[in-house]
């Protein structure tokens, strides 16, 4: 097969995949008797046309950057981490314990502690499947899926039987003290000029961006990243070079789990301010789409996370103001994963064909 120019590979392939996904989504909307253009309008207006909308879009974006990075770093080491969801929920547990058990004097200290705790819990939840993969050869995809279910059950147990305050009916922890409440964008000097109302996007956004930069640095500037990528490309070659496969599996999955866990700082500490059941709301899975869409590069991940933030906020608006069910966003998510992850060869073949067509015309 002919090859594509690098820029086409990086920019055009995801773009075309996105267009496919959008076109099919439009057909689906049409098929359920709604207007695609109307839907798009609602989505754009509700998520991008007001500071308030952006406040939500960026809130989702923050979560998706974390989970997208989690998938990305594992992916470079050849691991398909589908367990972001469970790792994020465990991260939420870490946040809740950090916020509830210790009376923090100021949100900044609490943020640090909660972040460490969230990362540690997520990392541990990823480390178990990683250990089983490294030492016992278990299939990482299926074990991480199982760990999602086990995490959900564990959280239910803890919320119902252990952490629920007496007299409360819904399975949730107590509210975190006011002192650990994270500043939302409307409370940050400078940003408050744009965000004038209470929005859920909060300081965690900056942690997410820092994490993206750190992941880039690790992957392409450090020895660890070099070894991870080499191992991800070829395990036998890594062995030859003296790179320990078990170690690479453990490290990549642990970092991945830590990143997934960190997303809970955004939603549990920054938004809900208590741990609820299913707090991650599928963000762990969206990380897969975000990573694929972002071509497993932190810059791409950030951009794709904004796109999915828009999709999620827009989708919520659809659910709110139109007859289109909120599930539309799951459909779009599935289509994006399908086209960028599984039908990428098709997309690339199409582009190669278009390119050669263009070349022939030039010659003629």
């Amino acid at each position: 097969m002919d090859r594509l120019p690098k820029w086409a590979d990086v920019v055009l392939v995801p773009l075309v995949s996105l267009i496919f996904a959008a076109a099919i989504s439009a057909i689906v909307i049409k098929a359920i008797g709604q207007s695609p253009s109307e839907a798009l309008k609602v989505m754009v207006e509700g998520s991008l046309m007001s500071a308030y909308g952006w406040g939500y879009t960026l809130y989702y974006t923050t979560s998706f950057i974390f989970t997208g990075l989690a998938v990305t770093i594992a992916f470079h080491a050849g691991m398909f981490n589908i367990g972001g969801e469970g790792q994020a929920q465990l991260g939420g547990l870490g946040v809740a314990l950090a916020c509830l058990l210790i009376p923090w004097p100021h949100w900044s200290v609490a943020l640090l502690a909660a972040s460490l705790s969230a990362a540690a819990f997520g990392a541990v939840w990823a480390a178990v499947p990683a250990y089983l993969a490294a030492r016992r050869g278990s299939h990482i995809v299926i074990t991480t899926i199982m760990f999602n279910y086990i995490a959900a059950a564990l959280i239910v147990y803890l919320l119902v039987d252990v952490l629920r305050p007496a007299g409360q009916m819904d399975p949730a922890t107590a509210r975190f003290p006011k002192t650990v409440s994270l500043p939302t964008l409307n409370q940050i000097p400078g940003f408050d000029l744009f965000f004038q109302k209470e929005v859920p996007a909060n300081v965690t956004l900056f942690i997410a961006l820092a994490a993206a930069w750190a992941v880039w640095l690790i992957l392409w500037r450090t020895r660890l990243g070099y070894q991870l990528r080499a191992f991800g490309k070829s395990e036998p070659a890594a062995r030859y070079a003296g790179i320990n496969p078990a170690k690479m599996i453990m490290i990549s999955m642990t970092i991945s789990g830590a990143l997934a866990g960190l997303m809970s700082v955004n939603n549990v500490m920054g938004e809900a301010e208590r741990l609820l059941q299913n707090s991650s709301e599928g963000a762990g899975f969206i990380g897969i789409a975000v990573a694929l869409m972002g071509r497993n590069h932190p810059v791409g991940v950030v951009l794709a996370a904004v796109l999915f933030g828009f999709l999620y906020q827009g989708g919520a608006e659809l659910g709110l103001w139109t007859a289109i069910p909120i599930e539309l966003r799951i459909v779009v998510q599935g289509l994006v994963i399908l086209f960028t992850g599984a039908l990428d060869v098709m997309v690339r073949m199409l582009l190669v064909w278009l390119f050669s067509f263009g070349r022939k015309r030039q010659v003629a």
């Binding site: 819904d170 949730a172 059941q277 299913n278 659910g319």
Partner: protein, 308 residues
């Protein structure tokens, strides 16, 4: 415009949320007005939904279910000019109306009905999520059963401990089959969408079901003994009618106020003998007059007639 937010079961759960939906529809038909509605998809969305609706200018905002309590507690102060109504939960905020029902009383009546109708002397109760509110249903029911048949055996099951328990018909059906195997021939489902599975299984197995919240007698005509009606529709209708002049505070809808009742219609006419009806109606009168006091589980977290 007023707005309503349904809980996880969704507005067509044939039960709790559907009752709320019916109330809203009734209001819309009568006044020609429009309202916004929203179905919860996940636990974590509650606050966003509330904020977004308040933000959009909806007033009053009615929500069905205790699970909104915590979110409402934080949102209500941010929108002092918006009125909120919450059903099944008490939220003490100056702009919130809390509507609660005496499910124990209604359940007592259908419990009596079950005790009278049972041939095996064993009846069942299947609750949704295991919370004090649902135990209040079960406890009232058990008292009614014992009142009608002091020797009766009552099999109690809860579907789960999370909101998913409101929407698990498979589990509901399996629990119903299990209760039948233990001899139950009348089963009361107080479980939201899960109840659909319970009533289906009861109908399949040739025993009687008892519906909840809405009048569910029509779901399996001739196979549902009666339904414990909790007039969520009335609560919603009233809140919508009051509009932005909604009176805050606690509003208890009891048997006397018509907040709870048992359902009679052509679907269950053949199942309920005049004697049964007479006995139940007599008890209802006593409750209304205060002569008969049904023990409320939530008052002290104990039940004289059943152990959970």
């Amino acid at each position: 415009d007023p707005a309503i937010i349904y809980d996880l079961g969704g507005k067509f759960d044939k039960s709790f949320n559907e009752a709320a939906f019916n109330g809203a529809e009734k209001w819309a038909k009568e006044t020609g007005g429009t309202y916004k509605e929203l179905e919860m998809q996940s636990e974590a969305q509650r606050e966003q939904a509330l904020r977004r609706l308040a933000e959009s200018g909806a007033n009053p905002i009615v929500m069905t279910g205790f699970a909104f309590g915590d979110a409402l507690n934080t949102v209500a102060p941010d929108f002092p000019d918006t009125k909120f109504a919450i059903i099944d939960m008490v939220v003490e905020q100056p702009n919130v109306k809390s509507v609660v029902f005496t499910e124990d009383q209604g359940s007592y009546l259908v419990g009596m009905m079950a005790g009278l109708a049972s041939k095996t002397g064993t009846v069942g109760f299947i609750g949704g999520m295991d919370i004090p509110l649902i135990r209040r249903f079960g406890c009232g029911y058990a008292q009614g059963v014992i009142a009608a048949n002091p020797d009766a055996k009552i099999v109690l099951n809860m579907t789960g401990t999370t909101p998913a328990a409101w929407n698990d018909p498979v589990k509901g059906a399996e629990l119903a089959k299990g209760q039948k195997a233990q001899g139950a021939d009348v089963i009361y489902a107080a479980a939201g969408g899960t109840g659909v599975g319970v009533l289906q299984a009861a109908a399949d197995e040739g025993i009687l079901g008892i519906g909840v919240d809405s009048n569910q007698n029509g779901m399996h005509p001739g196979k549902i003994l009666t339904s414990m009606m909790k007039r969520v529709d009335v609560a919603v209708y009233n809140a919508f009618t009051e509009g932005d002049k909604l009176t805050p505070g606690i509003n208890v809808l009891d048997l006397k106020a018509g907040g709870v009742d048992y359902a009679m219609d052509e679907n269950n006419a053949s199942l309920v003998t005049p004697e049964m009806k007479a006995a139940v109606d007599a008890a209802a009168e006593k409750i209304k007059s205060g002569e008969l006091v049904v023990h409320d589980y939530m008052s002290d977290n104990t039940c004289p007639a059943a152990t959970f």
